[in-house]
């Protein structure tokens, strides 16, 4: 079953699996995002129908939590830690560097769809401050030099 270019097969499976659980909405949205990479409008309205809720209620819950995203992400999601330790270790230098190297700010995706930068509260590796995470890989004790090298290594991997 395909609607507006989004394949809903997986979503329907997930709905079947979760629908009857207590407090199913958030886990269902989490699983849906895991599959689609973000929450397309259609996915949210289908979830609303299945759980007998209004779309507005689903949207209200989804927008309350930072985990949920409403736009497609880049291939590599860069989480920049803005925890206290990273803040005092000068994470703003990294922000400036990202601005220069990737030409995007937190919350944005590069034109080539390769990188998305997210500003996050705390990754919990405070002794390694400043820290970033690219997908599941963590990089600590960063400075501008290291950062450029890391970004270059990802670009090289993609042949860019």
């Amino acid at each position: 079953m395909q609607k507006k270019g989004i394949d809903l097969t997986v979503l329907n499976q997930l709905i079947g699996e979760y629908k009857d659980n207590k407090g199913a909405l958030i886990p269902l949205l989490q699983k849906a995002q895991e599959h689609y990479g973000y929450l397309p409008e259609l996915v949210m309205s289908e979830v609303a129908k299945a759980l007998n809720m209004s779309s507005a209620d689903v949207y209200g819950v989804a927008t309350f939590y930072k985990q949920f995203r409403f736009n497609p992400m880049g291939k590599y999601v860069i989480k920049v830690c803005h925890g206290t330790a990273c803040h005092v270790a000068g994470v703003n230098i990294l922000d400036t560097m990202f601005d220069q190297v990737l030409k995007i700010k937190a919350g944005e995706t590069t034109e080539d769809g390769l990188f998305t930068i997210l500003s996050v509260a705390c990754l919990g590796c405070c002794s390694l401050a400043p820290v970033i995470m690219i997908n599941d890989e963590t990089y600590g004790h960063l400075n501008t030099d290291k950062l450029v090298k890391i970004i270059d290594s990802y670009r090289a991997k993609e042949g860019k």
């Binding site: 330790a85 919990g124 405070c126």
Partner: protein
């Protein structure tokens, strides 16, 4: 016989522990006299990745073990029996910085393999639960009460009393919730416990379930901790298999099931009523109390909710007795507390100390003092709800009452150390920015008050502050404190009030002199290169905006119109030729 343990908690992995593990796996392949296993966080984050080597009963703790050093240790120490002193952290079972610690909650972290239930049982795990099931519910609650244990999530309420309220609520269905939504930036105690010793939390929840008459529990863990969630799932599955979680536990009539709920990224969900709303699938917004969760909590059933560290202490208390616990600590603050030491400190990591230990002992004794031997300025305790304790109060004992008297709070246990290069107005602005973003928006004063306070603080850090700003901040701070429903709003002004109380001169310098004494606030500083420049070109390379020009061995110059004041050049220069 050689045993190798690699610390593979998040901090270890971030430093490269998985690569170390893989390297060691290849090296020892096919050698039956060498065993390799994983363990949790030992707490010495600043030396990660860490491995423990045990040769015929003698233990060696190695730090900074990347792939190269792993191979070096394998060849030189394991094969040629020559310890590599420069990488050794210690050579005995007791580490120097452990001497001032008393590890109850962290006793197994970095010792056992958290993925194997038998290892937890072998060190006395689930003995507390067994003991609890042999006595009455009232006796269990009396033991927890007598121990003096207080909630480690921040509020410090008596755990035994909380349990008693939930027990006294009459209902056919009750719940136990473990609050593992550790959201304070700069705090990672709970993560380490969940990753390094998940069974201790499960045991605590089950003892609580038995005591209050609940047969179902939820662990609400933030999604940012994938490893903690994986270890918890594994631990629950193993405990179910062994008949420790499930029906008729240890042959008794007590039954208990545990579910995991992943948070979705909302700081306010650390507040208990918001957390329960989130489990129910709603927006996590706090509600008015009473009714307290003990009367009407999750799905309107009586619910007891405790933090990770609190629950992880319970098994030990039941095993060792209330007296063993309440003889540790001060008159009103019993037992131990785990702190996450971070910021400008030499030995950052996790420490567990007895309540009442002076701050000085923690920062300069265990923590080894300030990085690069800079001047200690303040320690920020309790995250966004806490405050800054200045250097002059360094002798303050670490217990609930003494810390609260300074204006800060013990909180969940984050300790971020600040040095002379930290601007206190900037720190206050940082925290208010955090709480402003995380405010759920329910209470007007929290929603709009934090926004206005942030605007004032931002204006001050930009050099646009006016004399009245300090008074406006204090006035607004007190109103936000008084008019907010939950802890987030009630404590959000603490970072402002404490920094104004102890560092008013810094505020005045920003407002009156338009200067940032610590050299942090961008709008108030300019970077310049002095004659001390030898023309090494390091700053030129470090500058992200190409604002620095100059030839090799000649004085370099910064083009102020291009400079974004990121400070990269300042941090790079080895000749102190850049001023701000």
């Amino acid at each position: 016989m050689v045993k190798i343990k690699v610390g593979t908690a998040t901090c270890g992995n971030a430093a490269g522990a998985q690569k170390t593990l893989e390297k060691l796996e290849t090296l020892i392949q096919g050698q039956s006299d060498i065993s390799l296993s994983q363990t949790g966080c030992i707490g010495l984050c600043y030396r990660e990745p860490i491995i423990e080597l045990e040769i015929n009963g003698t233990k060696f703790l190695y730090g900074d073990v990347d792939e190269t050093n792993a191979e070096k240790i394998y060849k030189t120490h394991i094969k040629d029996n020559k310890p590599i002193t420069e990488l050794l952290i210690n050579q005995s079972n007791q580490h120097y910085s452990f001497e001032k610690q008393n590890r109850i909650v962290l006793k197994n972290a970095g010792v056992i393999n958290p993925e194997i239930i038998e290892e937890y049982i072998a060190v006395g795990g689930y003995e507390g639960l067994k003991k609890a099931l042999q006595i009455t519910k009232e006796e269990v609650i009396a033991t927890v009460k007598d121990s003096g244990l207080r909630g480690r999530g921040g509020a410090g309420f008596s755990t035994g009393m909380k349990w008693e309220f939930a027990k006294n609520s009459v209902n056919d269905k009750k719940y136990v919730i473990c609050n593992a939504d550790e959201g304070d930036p700069g705090a990672f105690m709970d993560r380490s416990v969940l990753e390094g010793d998940p069974h201790s939390v499960i045991e605590g929840m089950m003892i609580c379930g038995y005591a209050i008459g609940a047969n179902e529990g939820y662990i609400y863990c933030r999604a940012e901790y994938p490893l903690a969630i994986a270890r918890l799932k594994n631990a629950i599955a193993q405990a179910e298999k062994k008949g420790i979680v499930g029906k008729n536990i240890f042959g008794s009539t007590f039954c208990f099931d545990i579910h995991i709920k992943e948070g979705a990224g909302a700081f306010v969900c650390g507040e208990e009523t918001a957390l329960m709303g989130s489990i129910e699938g709603k927006r996590g917004m706090p509600r008015l109390r009473p009714p307290f969760p003990a009367v009407s909590g999750l799905w309107a059933k009586p619910t007891n909710i405790n933090n990770v560290e609190t629950l992880a202490s319970v098994g030990w208390i039941l095993s060792n007795g209330a007296c063993a616990y309440n003889k540790i600590g001060t008159e009103k603050s019993k037992g131990t507390k785990v702190f996450a030491l971070a910021g400008k400190i030499k030995n950052g990591g996790l420490v567990e100390v007895e309540m009442g230990i002076p701050l000085k002992e923690v920062i300069f004794g265990i923590g080894g003092g300030i990085k690069n031997d800079k001047k200690f300025k303040a320690v920020q305790m309790g995250g966004p709800s806490g405050g800054c304790i200045p250097a002059s109060l360094i002798d303050t004992p670490v217990d609930y009452e003494s810390i609260t008297a300074t204006g800060a709070i013990v909180g969940s246990g984050g300790m971020v150390v600040l040095d002379e290069d930290s601007c206190m107005v900037d720190v206050a602005r940082y925290f208010v920015n955090f709480t402003q973003t995380e405010s759920c928006g329910k209470c007007t004063f929290c929603r709009i008050g934090t926004k206005r306070m942030l605007e004032i603080l931002t204006r001050i850090t930009e050099g646009k502050g006016v004399e009245e700003d300090i008074d406006s901040l204090i006035d607004l701070a007190n109103k936000v404190k008084d008019s907010s429903l939950c802890g987030l709003g009630q404590t959000a002004p603490n970072p402002i009030l404490t920094t104004i109380k102890y560092f008013k001169d810094e505020y005045i310098a920003h407002i009156r002199d338009k200067k940032c004494p610590a050299g942090v606030c961008k709008e108030l500083i300019t970077f310049n290169i002095t004659d001390a420049c030898i023309g090494c070109t390091a700053c030129k390379k470090a500058c992200p905006t190409k604002a620095i020009s100059g030839e090799v061995k000649k004085l370099h110059v910064i083009d102020q119109s291009l400079c974004v004041k990121c400070g990269a050049c300042y941090n790079t220069c080895k000749f102190k030729a850049i001023t701000k």
